[in-house]
C-alpha cells in the first residue's frame, strides 16, 4: 500500500471483527494476494472493487477459508482461522457467505435450504428453525416460494433465498462474492435492496461487486484492488469523486462512462 496513504474511517476504539495481517497467496506463479492488511470493524460495510483478476473474490473467500493462504494471519472475532476440521466448521457458521451462482441446495426446497444449517450445524430444534426460516424468507420477500425447489425460482429470488440461508446462521459477518453478477439486469435491484436493508440494520459486510451505485450508497469504505494489492481505500464519496491512484482513475473512467 505504498501508493496511497490509508485513511481508516473506522473508529479506533472498536475492536476489529475481521483482521487480515500481511496475507499472501499464490496460484502457481501468479501472486493473487500480496501483503494484504485489512481491519473490518463491527457493523462496517466494506465494498471491494477492481478489475477482474485483481484478487477481490479470492480475498473475500479467504475470510472463511474457502481459499487457503500461503502466509500471514486472518482472525475473525479475535480468533485465528483454524485449519480444516470441526473447529473451522464452527467458525464458518459465524461467517455467512453469498455466492455469485447462488449455490442453493438443488435437491432441497427453499424452506429446507434455510432450515438445514440451523438444524444440522446450530442444532436448533426443527420447529423453531422452520419458524426462523419463514420469517427470514418473508423478510427477503420470497415467503410465498418456501415450498418450491430452487430451480423453480428466478435468479433474483434464488439469491435472496441464499441471503436468508446465510442469515439463518446468525452470522457475525456476511461475505458477498459478486452476488448480482449472474443476475438478469431487472433482478439486480431486488437483491441489492435486501443487502442495503441488511447494511442499514448494522450487519458487518464484505461485498465484492461491480455495482458502483451500491458501493456509493451502502458502503462505509471502498477498497480498490488491482494485481493482488489493495491499491486504494477510502470513503465511497471520496473514492468516486477524487480517486488518488492512476489505476483507480483508469478503472473508474472505464466503468462509469457508458
Amino acid at each position: 500500500m505504498t501508493e496511497s496513504p490509508v485513511e481508516d474511517s473506522t473508529p479506533a476504539a472498536a475492536a476489529p471483527l475481521v483482521v487480515l495481517d500481511n496475507v499472501n497467496k499464490h496460484y502457481g506463479a501468479l501472486h493473487v494476494l500480496q501483503d494484504i492488511d485489512l481491519r473490518i470493524t463491527q457493523g462496517e460495510v466494506v465494498v471491494l472493487i477492481g478489475p477482474s483478476g485483481s484478487g477481490k473474490s479470492t480475498l473475500c473467500r479467504t475470510i472463511n477459508r474457502l481459499e487457503t493462504i500461503d502466509s500471514g494471519t486472518i482472525t475473525v472475532d479475535g480468533r485465528p482461522l483454524p485449519a480444516e476440521g470441526k473447529e473451522l466448521a464452527r467458525l464458518r457458521a459465524e461467517v455467512g457467505m453469498v455466492f455469485q451462482s447462488f449455490n442453493l441446495f438443488a435437491h432441497k426446497t427453499v424452506l429446507e435450504n434455510v432450515v438445514i444449517g440451523q438444524v444440522k450445524v446450530r442444532k436448533v430444534p426443527r420447529p423453531q428453525a422452520e419458524r426462523t426460516a419463514r420469517e427470514l424468507l418473508e423478510r427477503v420477500g420470497v415467503g410465498a416460494q418456501a415450498d418450491k425447489y430452487p430451480a423453480q425460482l428466478s435468479g433474483g429470488q434464488q439469491q435472496r433465498v441464499a441471503i436468508a440461508r446465510a442469515l439463518a446462521m446468525k452470522p457475525k459477518v456476511m461475505l458477498f462474492d459478486e452476488p448480482t453478477s449472474a443476475l438478469d439486469p431487472e433482478m439486480v435491484n431486488e437483491v441489492l435492496e435486501v443487502m442495503r436493508q441488511l447494511a442499514a440494520d448494522g450487519m458487518t459486510m464484505v461485498v465484492v461487486t461491480h455495482e458502483m451505485g451500491f458501493a456509493r450508497s451502502a458502503a462505509n469504505r471502498v477498497l480498490f484492488m488491482a494485481d493482488g494489492r489493495i491499491v486504494e481505500q477510502n470513503t465511497p464519496d471520496a473514492f468516486f469523486t477524487a480517486p488518488r491512484s492512476d489505476r483507480a482513475k483508469d478503472f473508474l473512467s472505464k466503468i462509469l462512462h457508458h
Partner: protein
C-alpha cells in the same frame, strides 16, 4: 429339461439358487457400504485416506476375481483368520465390487457442482455432513445407471465362488454335469436362474430411477 424334477435335483438346484442370492445380497451390501466409504476417502481432505482409497481401487479392480478368491480363501487362514467359505466368498466378492462402486460414486460426486459443497461448508457443515446431506443425495441420481451395471454383474461374478466350496448355483451345475444330464438342459435352467436374478436387480434400479426422477 425335465431332469430338474427328478430325484433330489430340484432341491439341489433350489439350494444353489438361494445360496447364490444370499452370497450376492451379502456381497452387494458389503460392496455398497465399503464402496461408499472408499469414495468418501477418495474425496476427503486427508491425504492418508485418499491414498488408501486409491490403493484399494487399484489393487482390487485390477486383480482377477479368481485370484482374489484364492488370496482370501487360502491367504487368510494362515494369518489366523477363519471364516466359513461363504464369508470368505463375501469378502472377496464384496471387496472386489466395492472398488467398482467406489469409482461409480466418485464419478457421481464429480458431477455435483463444486459450489454445492462450498455452500455447505460455508454454513459450517463438516466434511461428513457436506457429503451425506448435500453431495451424495445429488450424486445418487446420476450414479444409478452405472451402479445397476455393477450390481447386475455381481451375481454373475458370484459363480466363481462355486470353485471355492460355496454350494451356489454354478456348483449345482457341476454336480448335475457329473450326474450325466444333458449339458444344454443344465445350462438352460442355470441361465434362467441368473437371468431371473439380473432382471430383478435391473427392475429394482429402474424403479429407483423413476422414483428419484421426481425429486428436484
Amino acid at each position: 429339461m425335465g431332469f430338474l424334477f427328478e430325484q433330489d435335483n430340484f432341491a439341489l438346484f433350489r439350494d444353489g439358487f438361494l445360496q447364490t442370492i444370499e452370497l450376492s445380497a451379502l456381497s452387494a451390501l458389503l460392496a455398497l457400504l465399503l464402496g461408499t466409504l472408499l469414495a468418501a476417502f477418495r474425496v476427503s481432505p486427508v491425504p492418508v485416506l485418499r491414498a488408501f482409497g486409491t490403493a484399494w481401487v487399484t489393487l482390487f479392480r485390477n486383480t482377477p476375481l479368481t485370484l482374489l478368491f484364492f488370496a482370501v480363501t487360502f491367504g487368510l487362514p494362515p494369518l489366523g483368520v477363519h471364516f466359513s467359505h461363504l464369508v470368505f466368498a463375501v469378502l472377496a466378492l464384496g471387496g472386489y465390487t466395492a472398488s467398482f462402486v467406489c469409482e461409480v460414486i466418485r464419478s457421481g460426486i464429480n458431477t455435483v457442482p463444486l459450489g454445492q459443497a462450498e455452500a455447505a461448508r460455508s454454513l459450517g457443515m463438516t466434511f461428513g455432513q457436506t457429503l451425506t446431506l448435500v453431495v451424495l443425495p445429488q450424486a445418487a441420481r446420476t450414479v444409478l445407471a452405472p451402479m445397476s451395471s455393477v450390481f447386475i454383474a455381481l451375481p454373475r461374478n458370484s459363480a466363481i465362488a462355486g470353485a471355492f466350496s460355496v454350494g451356489e448355483l454354478y456348483s449345482a451345475q457341476q454336480t448335475f454335469s457329473e450326474r450325466g444330464y444333458s449339458i444344454f438342459a443344465i445350462f438352460f435352467w442355470v441361465a434362467c436362474a441368473y437371468l431371473l436374478i439380473s432382471a430383478t436387480v435391473a427392475t429394482f434400479f429402474r424403479f429407483l430411477e423413476s422414483r428419484l426422477a421426481v425429486v428436484r
